[in-house]
Subunit: 307 residues, 2 copies
């Protein structure tokens, strides 16, 4: 089952003709979670062949325009496409005041509701979960209230080895208990251990998203050992002071968080358009954390099951 991230936008506040503001899609088992929704997100979704009607949960880190100005356009298009699924938005509570007027203006033709889920900017909180995944928001450090998001697969139960069912004549009624950790005693009184009967489940995969944020060590605990971490890198080290003033990070700082959190891979993005190329960001981060990659429009990062 896929667990893969596609980058729709990599620019910071001012987009360019090739760099869109922040937006990403996480495909978790063919469910599509949209993370931030800068202007032009619907155009990027089409460009990279996503079905707009599959989007119904949207996570907005904070209320700077480059992270949400694409919402009303996307919602309008969903309405025109005949969408009937409610759209759930996880964001600062003020978002509703900012966009609901525009939504009301088109509402007579909408066959779905927009449901707002306010985030908690004081402490981590599970904001969504189902049988397959949980999404946790956690505060980061920016000039306005901002959350990161951690997407983590739920741990599955182990599978029974099919050959064992026949070998030990295990009744169907015992299967669930064995999956949950029980051993088995055969009719003849032999003790068969849980470990012999089952195949361990795959390790849950995880993705964490942190933008916009200053260097903030509280993030480390939240993203510890994730398979993939996106951490903003608006500036390079030559603008460390400016990063600090504007509550953004440098590429080196993003890599330092990745290293301290012992994540498997790091993606950096949200590049300031004062830099004409992005290789310098990569070089700076690689010096600290070798498994760093650039979050560039259209790139997909597939998190494979490792065991």
């Amino acid at each position: 089952m896929p667990f893969e991230l596609t980058i729709l936008g990599s620019s910071s506040a001012i987009p360019t003709s090739t760099k869109y503001p922040t937006a990403q899609v996480l495909n978790v088992h063919e469910r599509f979670f949209l993370i931030d929704c800068g202007e032009g997100t619907q155009i990027q979704l089409r460009k990279y062949k996503f079905k707009l009607l599959r989007i119904n949960r949207i996570f907005i880190s904070h209320l700077h325009g480059d992270h949400y100005f694409g919402l009303v356009g996307l919602i309008s298009t969903l309405s025109l496409l005949g969408n009937k699924n409610d759209i759930h938005i996880y964001s600062h509570s003020e978002l509703k005041d900012l966009i609901q007027g525009q939504i009301n203006y088109m509402k007579s033709e909408m066959e779905f509701e927009v449901i707002y889920h306010p985030l908690n900017f004081k402490k981590p909180q599970i904001v969504f979960e189902d049988e397959k995944i949980s999404v946790t928001s956690f505060p980061v450090k920016h000039s306005v209230p901002t959350c990161g998001f951690l997407f983590r697969e739920k741990k599955k139960l182990p599978n029974i080895r099919k050959e064992m069912i026949e070998k030990y004549q295990i009744p169907i009624k015992n299967i669930q208990a064995i999956k949950e950790g029980a051993d088995f005693i055969t009719e003849s009184g032999d003790f068969i251990s849980f470990n012999e009967l089952t195949i361990p489940p795959k390790e849950p995969r995880s993705y964490a998203f942190c933008t916009d944020t200053a260097y903030f060590e509280s993030i480390i605990d939240q993203v510890k050992e994730v398979d993939l971490l996106y951490h903003e890198a608006t500036f390079r080290n030559n603008k460390k002071e400016l990063a600090n003033q504007t509550q953004h990070s440098t590429a080196e700082q993003a890599a330092t968080i990745a290293k301290k959190a012992n994540v498997k891979k790091l993606l950096i993005g949200h590049f300031s358009n004062r830099y004409k190329e992005t290789d310098g960001f990569l070089q700076e981060a690689l010096a600290v954390f070798p498994e760093t990659f650039l979050a560039t429009e259209g790139n997909t990062f597939n998190i494979k099951q490792t065991k």
Copy 2:
């Protein structure tokens, strides 16, 4: 002096990966008027090398999202770029309620005001003029109140033929009067006619923009004999009934308006994305009005001075 139109977006309500929603820039003597501002307009402006800081008058035909969702992003970017010129928006009065909340959210950092000029949807009205140009709004026929816009150069005064000044020893104090139509009597009493003394001014150039609208013959009087008419053509003739229901036009209808108004050139756009190509629109319009062109992203139409 240039009088030229650049197309930033040609799609109807649902943009695609290559077609942006409606937006155009009219360059009148190096003043840049933005006409409609769909999502992604700021990205298109950059793509086609316009200086965002040169934009400060924006004309919004109506409040369907594909004609104004790019406004807040553009205003946000203007603020980040350090713009200090007030931004004038000519639109339905309700626009302010729809977007001002988002503008207020960023306002502490803005060094300019957004000034709203409400349009009149009952009758034509001059909404802007200076010494070089006038802009007139006029109602068209759509499912919500919608205006077209007519941009017309002001008629200049004629120039004095320089050689005449010397020949007849014309004093400087008489020049303005001659330009305004006076004849001249020399010291020796000879009568020199205005026509002999002056070179006629160039004919004023004009551009009219009509979207979204059903076939509506009242438009004809407003756009009579303009150099360039943009008229929406959302559908082809095979969807004439749907055009009628949704208060849009077919390519043939757009061409019929152009023909009846005796305009010089017609541009068609606002193409429904149900059509996979645009040549069919062009063929349909050319059959009625031979000087028809497609309004396609990035195309510039230069209106030359003819005499």
